[in-house]
Symmetry: C2
Subunit: 305 residues, 2 copies
């Protein structure tokens, strides 16, 4: 019997796919591909069709598979087997696991992308060995995958909306509320605020980070706001949940430890009696979601590393 598993991480612009072989301590990548996410009038069906084709291709190139894992963004209720909502992909209450099962002749594990990324950082990455973990990828938005007592805490897909904590500024968020963390500290917010303030376009947050590093005062100011807000948001999370470790992910934190160190300082300054968590940078980069999908598949097939 094969121990190989297929993994699909579905994003708004592309689908990352891989075949992994469980090996002691990890998953070895034996094949991989990336395709633009297909869209259509019935987005869940189109996505399921694409997933079926991709897994067929992977099986052809890598050989027989034991199971597949598919993770998607948005509000996902794995227990109910429903992809509740994705602003990006356009579905609402889609029975994705059932659609996938009709098209894939393998056991299919279904999950949420950020949660799967957190699971991968927990079992293979920066949070290994901890029981209480918050994985916080900072990208277009900001969410937290919570692993509490070693298990993902999901609340039917509603948990972990760290980006919508009120951190006390006067900017309006896409969600309609004022003061949300992600309106001032997401990668998208950094680029947007820098452009608005300086009149110079920035395509992404990394550009703002680079500009701040070379003395651009607008970039520095925008980054200062983001660091303070992230620290304040994490202070709230720490006060309620006291995780042992917070893992910061996303491209912003990939460049070096400078930014994470500033966030760490801000959190530490704002705690009084609360337990300060380890604050680490993610280790698995943008493969975390795909690795997490691979772990879900391996767990399902009983071949997990």
């Amino acid at each position: 019997m094969s121990a190989l598993v297929a993994a699909l991480d579905v994003g708004g612009t592309s689908v990352k796919a891989a075949v992994y072989e469980p090996v002691p301590g990890g998953l070895r990548r034996v094949a991989g591909l990336r395709r633009p996410t297909e869209r259509g009038e019935d987005p869940a069906r189109v996505l399921a069709d694409q997933a079926g084709k991709l897994i067929g291709e992977l099986a052809e190139s890598a050989g027989p598979l034991a199971a597949a894992g598919v993770v998607v963004p948005g509000v996902v209720d794995e227990r109910a087997g429903i992809a509740r909502f994705s602003a990006n992909l356009g579905w609402r209450d889609a029975p994705l696991p059932a659609l996938l099962a009709e098209r894939i002749d393998l056991p299919v594990a279904f999950g949420h992308d950020v949660t799967a990324g957190g699971l991968a950082e927990h079992r293979l990455g920066a949070a290994r060995g901890f029981a209480d973990v918050a994985f916080v990828p900072v990208g277009t938005g900001i969410a937290a995958a919570l692993l509490l007592d070693g298990r993902p805490y999901r609340a039917g897909g509603h948990a972990g909306e760290l980006g919508h904590l009120d951190v006390g500024h006067d900017l309006t968020c896409g969600c309609g509320a004022v003061g949300c963390l992600e309106a001032i500290a997401s990668a998208a917010a950094l680029a947007r605020r820098y452009t608005a303030r300086s009149g110079r376009p920035a395509e992404g947050a990394r550009e703002v980070l680079t500009a701040a590093g070379s003395g651009d005062p607008d970039a520095a100011a925008v980054l200062d706001d983001a660091v303070a807000a992230l620290g304040d948001g994490l202070r709230q999370l720490v006060t309620l949940l006291a995780p042992e470790v917070v893992v910061l992910g996303g491209g912003l934190f990939g460049a070096g430890d400078g930014l994470a160190a500033r966030v760490r300082r801000r959190v530490a300054e704002r705690l009084t009696f609360q337990r300060m968590p380890e604050l680490r940078r993610a280790r698995l980069g943008d493969e975390a979601g795909c690795l997490g999908a691979g772990l879900l598949a391996a767990d399902l097939a009983g071949v997990a590393p």
Copy 2:
């Protein structure tokens, strides 16, 4: 073999003790007493001595016991068997379960008072039937007992410090931080702020509530601040944890649904896409902690209802 269990809820001023008989759907109280909390130079040892005596008395009056449950306030790490800290009772890193075991000739379950109260509301009270629960007693301080996926979430005793969420005011809290929820919305804060504002002494929060009800503008203003802050603190909790139900406890909420309804409105107004929880008043009053201790004992003895 006896199915009776003893329960002790240790507070800063008194110890509540009871004997319960597990019956279908609940615990029937067959004996109860309340004593001033004994104090001394070695507060953990003094408390363990008192607990031993009390359980002896209970056994004499009620007959043989199957187990005892003892719950205490402060930072409690049940897994490690350590009462980490209680400002009120004066211990630090006390091995209370071991001290109790030396003095009590029964299996002893050891726990945290607010967590035990949450467990009781979950299994016997307002949160029955829900998997994801926040129990929020508002008293001298404000804490939350978190039951997530049906299990208490403890983080070694550090979780649930709801009272120390920053809700954005400029008052300094006892913990040293500015903006903490409990500095503006605890029962103690209500009385203190009313007295400071009106020059009229208030012994407790219920007096402030009554005064507000009869048109006292100072009382109304202090209460408005507390309702807004509680709503804002719960908004943060809901954004991160999305519990199905929030149970509000403490004397303030015992008087009728008026105050809970105002908090409910404030939370609802401040959510955008997040799932609104049920917001209920506690059912078990100040017996919740003792009942929770009884449940811990009954679980330990395998006689739970």
